[in-house]
């Protein structure tokens, strides 16, 4: 569920952000006081963020939806899709050789890309069209790493990087059949709704459970708020749950009881669910990692492992028109498999890609919740081409089930 629940009041159409605000314009621009010709944006302060807090919808879990995935199919089949709006992820980026580059995935992208040579473009297009089919050559690489397969296709380093990290999104050890399956899935999803395979729900992922709830309510589901279950009554013989007792002492009989895994102790479970730790970070930034003509871009960024043994980091940058952050800001989610603490895993990436403002007066204010460690910190780091950014960093460690 989302951290910030209430957004109902602020669901107005976001005022369109025109690129290139002229300082001479007669609308009250915050930079009106500037006498320079280049409009410099006024720094957004922490106080402002707090004041506009209701415009922020920060998901605890950061996910994107494949346009031909099971969730989208379910949403369509069940008609739940009409309760939500979705936005296309507009571009796929990667971090390479010290800079952020766009990954060409569609034909139009490949055409427009300025970094690839014409020969590389041909090779990439040929590979993408050919890998859709199963060939004998691919069979020969079963069990061997996907990277090896790509290398043997004479694709060159550039293309190997794109294909492995951003399109297939696998590691260097992943076997070929898995890598190919992943690549094919990516390609299949292209073009269904947009130029990339991914969708993102407007107002954040928290909308999805809400939509299902809405649907359930339409069909007569009853919601009991501010209730919790204190104990389960199990039938002695069948060992099935036959009733529950809520916090108000009421007994409710049932034939099935469905609940989230975490409520039951390990000793009680039939099957032990494997656990995995995921490191997360959320940033609020004032400009995109890759500037372009439009500032309303939803980007998925892959940062390959910086060293052996480190995890690949996935980053989702959301613009304000996704209604997850206030205009003039971007909401950035970072996720990776935990190797160390969240700070250890993610701060190298953060430092590389973002600049933080030095604000000694705010200092480090550790704010600890009772069930997990959330640190709210303001950090400063430098990025050569970004303007000075002030943001809040939230690091969490979660016990996340393998999903």
């Amino acid at each position: 569920m989302t951290e910030e629940a209430d957004g109902t009041a602020d669901r107005e159409e976001e005022a369109s952000h025109t690129e290139g605000q002229e300082p001479e314009a007669d609308q009250p621009a915050p930079s009106a006081a500037q006498s320079q010709s280049v409009p410099t944006k006024k720094k957004i302060s922490y106080a402002q963020l707090v004041k506009e807090g209701r415009r922020f919808n920060i998901d605890l879990v950061s996910k994107l939806m494949y346009s031909r995935g099971s969730l989208v199919d379910l949403l369509i089949k069940s008609n739940v899709s009409r309760y939500a709006e979705f936005k296309n992820v507009t571009r796929i980026l990667t971090y390479r050789n010290g800079s952020v580059e766009q990954v060409p995935c569609s034909r139009a992208d490949v055409f427009a890309n300025r970094q690839l040579s014409v020969v590389e473009k041909r090779k990439l297009m040929r590979f993408l069209t050919s890998c859709v089919e199963e060939t004998e050559e691919q069979q020969a690489y079963r069990g061997r790493p996907y990277l090896e397969f790509l290398r043997d296709q004479q694709l060159g380093d550039n293309l190997q990087h794109f294909l492995l990290h951003s399109i297939a999104m696998v590691t260097e050890d992943t076997p070929t059949e898995e890598g190919l399956a992943s690549t094919r899935h990516f390609l299949r999803c292209l073009g269904r709704y947009g130029n990339t395979p991914f969708l993102f729900p407007v107002y954040g992922l928290g909308e999805i459970p809400q939509c299902f709830c809405r649907m359930c309510a339409v069909f007569g589901g009853i919601y009991c708020l501010r209730h919790s279950i204190t104990c389960l009554l199990l039938d002695k013989d069948s060992n099935r749950c036959k009733a529950v007792i809520d916090s108000q002492g009421q007994r409710i009989s049932c034939s099935h009881f469905v609940m989230e895994d975490g409520y039951v102790g390990a000793d009680r479970k039939k099957l032990a669910t494997p656990t995995r730790l995921i490191s997360r970070a959320v940033l609020i930034t004032d400009s995109s990692v890759l500037l372009s003509d439009s500032d309303q871009q939803v980007s998925m960024v892959t940062v390959p492992p910086i060293a052996a043994g480190c995890p690949a980091v996935r980053m989702v940058e959301l613009c304000s028109s996704t209604m997850t952050c206030m205009p003039g800001t971007y909401l950035v989610h970072l996720t990776c498999q935990s190797v160390g603490s969240a700070y250890e895993d993610l701060s190298p990436v953060v430092t590389k890609m973002f600049r933080t403002a030095e604000s000694p007066e705010q200092g480090t204010t550790p704010h600890v919740r009772h069930d997990n460690s959330i640190k709210v910190q303001t950090i400063t780091c430098l990025l050569p081409w970004q303007q000075l950014t002030q943001y809040q960093v939230i690091f969490f460690n979660f016990n996340h089930r393998k999903l």
């Binding site: 139009a108 427009a112 014409v118 041909r122 297009m125 040929r126």
Partner: protein
């Protein structure tokens, strides 16, 4: 019962549908008839507008109703105030939008919209342009919309660079679109015109030549921009080599030279007392002001084309009055003037010489490079390199092969001959449905090469044998040839253009598939004709030979016509001059 849906039987459903249709048809016909009767009576009122609107919304292609509507509107213009007229026309425009939704490719709707926009007191061209944008985003090949856009751009003076930016966007989102590339090709020369060059001094012209006409350079683009375009289009055909539009745009960029208009050859023969003139393109001698001047005296002559079928021909002949040049001891000077183009050519007939000619060599003129020759050699070389690079990656792509062939022809026709033939072979295999086209094109290139080789050797013998020739061309270049060997090819006919070979003495066409000899017509010097193993089937096919007065030797072995009864006597009657007959 409540809640149960009555399922009608199929027959019932059909019947209901039929009744529906009939009802609709009745309403439609009534409305249409009402419109027609009103129009006949010359009534131009609101009701008429209503009726036509009703009909046109369901059938926007009903041209008569659009006409009627225009009549009504023109009448309203005369009786209403300008503001009201503006409102009426704006309502018309929104009505048209709904019509376009029904059928975005209706001639009637687009034409009417253009008419309305032209008559609107205060037109909103920005809105029209955005309508075009929207229609093109739905279907970027809708030519009605493109035409309308061009009209709007012209009338409202939209700057060319803005339109160029529009094509950038369209091509960026989807480069498989002839229309956007084509539009780009019309805009570029306007925005980045090639700076006019001084006429190239590459050849000695003994006679005056006109300055290059402005049209020659107006469709060309300046070099800096061209290089950017090459990059753009290379991106396109490397990304998807199977997309034709990029390849065609590429060919346009590489450019096609326009041949200078002139008289390419003048030939004089004392024996026939005849002058033959070859032009750089087919002309109608009667209307171009052709003037023959002999020894300073203009001559009254009748110009005729080589074959009665041609009113326009590159080669024209005239006969001089008998005795004018027959005395071999006399020297004569001829000049042929092409007064329309202010050009002429001289020819001197010396004492002791039975014939004389004057022509520009095909090599000097770079005649056969006109397909893609405007570009500088360095540019063509680098483009050839890129295409070769692509060809390594995509050996079976026909567009790439064809473009490589054209580039090689433009750079060095003789030097690349072997590679060209090899590529043609691949092309025929890769694109079998067009193998005939490739064979013809290859034949053309082989003929061009043979003409060049013939010039280098400085002989008047033209020989292409066993080269799978399927067609003949550039026959106007063979005016001076005396011997031709076309044996062992796949020719099916000697077309009427063959009659341009005024100097031909020996013609060898054995082992072909010749059925028609139309072109062996009034060849004044033809003595020997070898047609062994062809497909001449009737006596009528041999009729044209009767016009060749000097024909002595004829080989018809292996032709179906030899099986005709009494062929020998028939032939001796038809062709009395033939003494050596082989059947």
């Amino acid at each position: 019962m409540h809640g149960r849906v009555k399922i009608k039987s199929t027959a019932q459903q059909e019947e209901e549908k039929r009744k529906e249709r009939e009802k609709k048809l009745k309403i439609y016909v009534a409305a249409r008839d009402a419109c027609f009767s009103k129009r006949k009576e010359g009534i131009w009122d609101d009701e008429a507008l209503q009726l036509t609107q009703q009909l046109l919304s369901s059938n926007p292609d009903f041209a008569t109703l659009w006409n009627y509507r225009r009549e009504i509107l023109m009448h309203l213009e005369t009786v209403k105030e300008e503001d009201e007229v503006q409102k009426i026309y704006e309502a018309e425009l929104s009505f048209l939008e709904s019509c376009l939704k029904v059928n975005p490719k209706s001639y009637g709707s687009w034409h009417h919209r253009g008419w309305v926009s032209a008559r609107l007191p205060r037109p909103d061209w920005a809105r029209e342009l955005s309508l075009c944008d929207r229609c093109l985003s739905l279907d970027d090949r809708n030519f009605h919309c493109w035409d309308y856009r061009r009209m709007v751009v012209k009338v409202s003076g939209v700057p060319v660079d803005q339109e160029l930016g529009f094509t950038d966007r369209l091509i960026g989102s989807n480069f498989s679109n002839y229309s956007s590339w084509h539009y780009r090709s019309t805009l570029l020369p306007l925005l980045h015109p090639e700076s006019p060059e001084p006429p190239s001094p590459r050849r000695e012209r003994p006679h005056s030549s006109p300055p290059p006409s402005p049209q020659t350079h107006s469709h060309r683009v300046c070099e800096e921009q061209l290089l950017k375009e090459y990059e753009l289009v290379q991106n396109a055909f490397f990304t998807d080599p199977n997309d034709q539009s990029a390849w065609f745009y590429y060919r346009w960029l590489l450019g096609r030279a326009e041949r200078e208009e002139m008289i390419s050859c003048v030939y004089v023969s004392r024996e026939e007392e005849r002058v033959a003139v070859a032009f750089s393109r087919p002309v109608n001698a009667q209307s171009v002001g052709l003037l023959l001047v002999l020894d300073g005296q203009p001559q009254r002559v009748e110009w005729r084309s080589v074959h009665p079928r041609f009113k326009h021909s590159p080669v024209w002949i005239c006969d001089l009055p008998p005795g004018t040049i027959s005395d071999i001891t006399n020297e004569h000077n001829l000049t042929v003037h092409w007064t329309e183009k202010h050009t002429h050519r001289d020819c001197a007939l010396y004492t002791g010489r039975a014939e004389s000619w004057c022509r520009d060599s095909a090599t000097d003129q770079e005649l056969f490079r006109s397909e893609l020759s405007i570009e500088k050699t360095s540019v063509l070389q680098s483009e050839l390199q890129s295409c070769n690079q692509l060809q390594e990656l995509e050996p079976l792509n026909k567009w790439c092969l064809l473009t490589i062939i054209l580039l090689m022809r433009a750079l060095d026709p003789l030097g690349y001959e072997k590679e060209t033939l090899a590529h043609f072979q691949t092309l025929r295999e890769v694109d079998a449905t067009r193998s005939a086209y490739y064979s013809d094109l290859c034949s053309k290139f082989m003929i061009e090469n043979t003409i060049l080789k013939m010039e280098y050797a400085e002989v008047r013998v033209f020989s292409i044998s066993d080269k799978h020739l399927t067609t003949l061309c550039h026959l106007d270049q063979l005016l001076l040839v005396t011997h031709i060997n076309l044996s062992s090819n796949q020719l099916q006919r000697l077309p009427p253009q063959f009659a341009m070979l005024q100097c031909l003495e020996v013609l060898e066409v054995d082992n072909n598939c010749i059925e028609s000899l139309e072109g062996v017509y009034h060849l004044p010097k033809l003595e020997e004709l070898l047609l062994k193993n062809n497909k001449i089937s009737t006596l009528a096919d041999l009729q044209p030979l009767a016009s060749c007065p000097k024909l002595k030797c004829l080989d018809l072995r292996g032709n179906p016509v030899t099986q005709t009864a009494n062929i020998e006597s028939a032939l001796s009657e038809l062709l009395p001059s033939v003494t050596d007959l082989l059947l």
